[in-house]
């Protein structure tokens, strides 16, 4: 007689499991990096410097938030960097043509939403195509449109108040940090406290099973890709405000850094696993690492290598662990 297996509604809380989470590992690496940086440079542990460094790397962190959702769905979006460029270029071009700035900013956000919607529609309508190839194609197309609009020129001359987005402070806190915290809280709540969030995990684990249990898979996928487009446009706003002008080649390679942060944050590339907080820690981890190494004059190219290796190491560690347990099981 076989007893039916009873699944508990909630896992029992255990301290061991709590501390064995990937996020604690990240916290330890984060502290280690800070200790290393403090020892390397006397200018590191200074509030003004840290604050300015944060303003420098936080622009791309806006894309990390929706990318977490996309990768939990089991998809990937490599067109985000191009959406940043396209929406920023559209905004700058409209403004130089005489459209009021506020309207141009709204159109910038709308352009991001449209780009994301196109990605989502293509992926949902053509399920046999992987999101890699679809967003690869749209990545080239969006960047191509940006080049067609602005050719090799830069557009700028925005009103004074616009630069507040990139350089402004609310009290002692940079505005961009404040905006990031707001968005991060919103996305955290969306992923971990709403039905939609649970459904995203369900789709990532098994899309077919979720469809049969009544989850509107297509609609959720499109929504998540639209979110990614919207956040890419937000990044476009902040990045343009910070640089004062925009070009069609801004934000190249952002997709790599964003994906690196998400993967480092413990989100599985196979989908269905990972948490928002890990990705948020990873943003600051890579940001501070970059800032600290920049202080001691490590070349930008060295940073490229480090980020590439970090990305690979972050995906490798869990894979190796799985391989080892499989081997143990076989013997």
């Amino acid at each position: 007689m076989i007893e039916p297996r009873v699944l508990a509604h909630k896992l029992d809380f255990s301290w061991k499991r709590f501390f064995l989470q990937w996020e604690w590992m990240l916290v330890i690496i984060f502290i280690a990096i800070n200790v290393m940086n403090i020892n390397l440079s006397e200018y590191y542990w200074d509030y003004d410097n840290l604050r300015d460094a944060m303003m420098g790397f936080l622009d791309k962190s806006f894309i990390v938030l929706p990318m977490v959702l996309i990768m939990i769905l089991g998809d990937i979006d490599i067109s985000v960097g191009s959406i940043v460029a396209l929406s920023a270029v559209i905004m700058a071009d409209l403004y130089t043509m005489g459209v009021p700035m506020v309207l141009a900013m709204l159109i910038c956000l709308a352009a991001g939403i449209v780009c994301g919607w196109i990605n989502g529609m293509l992926i949902v309508k053509y399920k046999e195509l992987s999101s890699v190839i679809v967003t690869l194609a749209t990545m080239i197309i969006y960047r191509g449109i940006a080049y067609v609009i602005l050719e090799d020129q830069a557009a700028g001359g925005f009103p004074e108040w616009f630069s507040f987005l990139g350089w402004g402070y609310v009290g002692p806190i940079p505005f961009i940090l404040l905006a990031f915290v707001c968005f991060a809280i919103l996305f955290y709540l969306l992923l971990h406290k709403t039905v939609l969030g649970r459904q995203i995990y369900a789709i990532g684990n098994n899309a077919n099973a979720s469809r049969y249990s009544g989850v509107k898979v297509d609609r959720i996928k499109i929504f998540v890709f639209v979110l990614a487009g919207f956040m890419a446009a937000v990044t476009g706003l902040f990045l343009t405000a910070r640089m004062g002008s925009t070009r069609p080649n801004i934000a190249t390679g952002y997709e790599l850094e964003v994906i690196a942060m998400v993967v480092l944050g413990g989100i599985s590339t196979a989908g269905g696993k990972g948490r928002m907080i890990g990705a948020i820690i990873a943003i600051f981890l890579i940001g501070f690492l970059r800032y600290g190494l920049g202080l001691i004059n490590v070349q930008a190219q060295m940073l490229l290598i480090i980020i590439g290796l970090l990305l690979i190491a972050a995906v490798m560690v869990p894979k190796l662990k799985i391989k080892r347990t499989q081997k143990l099981r076989k013997t």
Partner: protein, 350 residues
Amino acid sequence: MESRNVGSFVMPMGQQTQANKNKRTISSYVVQFRELGLLFFILLLAVLIQMRNPSFLTWENINDLITNTAILSILAVGMMLVIITRGIDLSIGATLALSGMISAMVVSHFPQVHPLLVLLLGTGIGLVCGGGLGYLVAKIGILPIIATLGMMNVFRGLTYLISDGKWVSAHQMTTSFKFLGTGTLFRINHLIWIALFIYLIAYYFMGHTRTGRQIYAVGSNPEAARISGIRPERTLWLVYVIMGGLSGMAGVLWVSKFASAQGDTASGYELSVIAACVVGGVSIAGGVGKLSGVLLGAILLGIINNALPLINVSAFWQMGIQGSIILAAVLLNAIVKRGVDRNHLMRRKV
């Protein structure tokens, strides 16, 4: 349903297949004549461009066009193998730059080294890069897109570090080295000969060797391949090694042809290569792809790159057009695949 059931019961075998043949979807014809269609499209495009600018179909221009397409078509062979195994390689532009930079520096420091040795050296560097990448993808099981994105950065960063951000320019290279990419044999550029040679080997390899057929098997169904005694990991690894070797060789040819090695050589070139494959009918879902299609795809992209300036289209349109071609080709492949599947269903006995 009822009538068809009766029909298949009554009708003799020959008539039945006859009846089913009439029910074929358009897509199944498209698959059959895919290469012909692509060829027809290329000819049509050539005629249209010729009408706008009569200097297009001249011997010099066509020679130029094919010479410029040679490197693309070499890389497309490797990319075809990678895509057939359901992968993708975004690092080839960086591998190309790395091997090109190292060989250019070798040439500038040791001018007496024979160009063919340099070509071998570059291929070797590519093989090592591909070997590392293949290890990550095949043995550890990292998604190809993530692994190649990461390694792309590593290789590109290494290129900058080795060269210290400097260029190796034409006057630092020996004439014999530049002759490798610009010289001609029977009035035809070396690059074209090399590309032809590689296509011949690849034709034999893909169609007539066991390993070549195993690549298709692994691509169409890795599990079935494993059960029938193929080791998918080994095949996967081999595919990335070949891709690396080809891009390493292409790096040397590139540097020799353009007589300059820079840190950002060929950045974004992987997209053109992927475009050539996808246009040539290599399926992203794996297991499908023909050399003839890939060659035609590469030529189509070469024509577009070559002809845009000739018909007064700004170079800034190039990227957008290329992206649209990839998207259109991928969507067409998907739609055709659906039609073929429906065709198979229709031909099944009910």
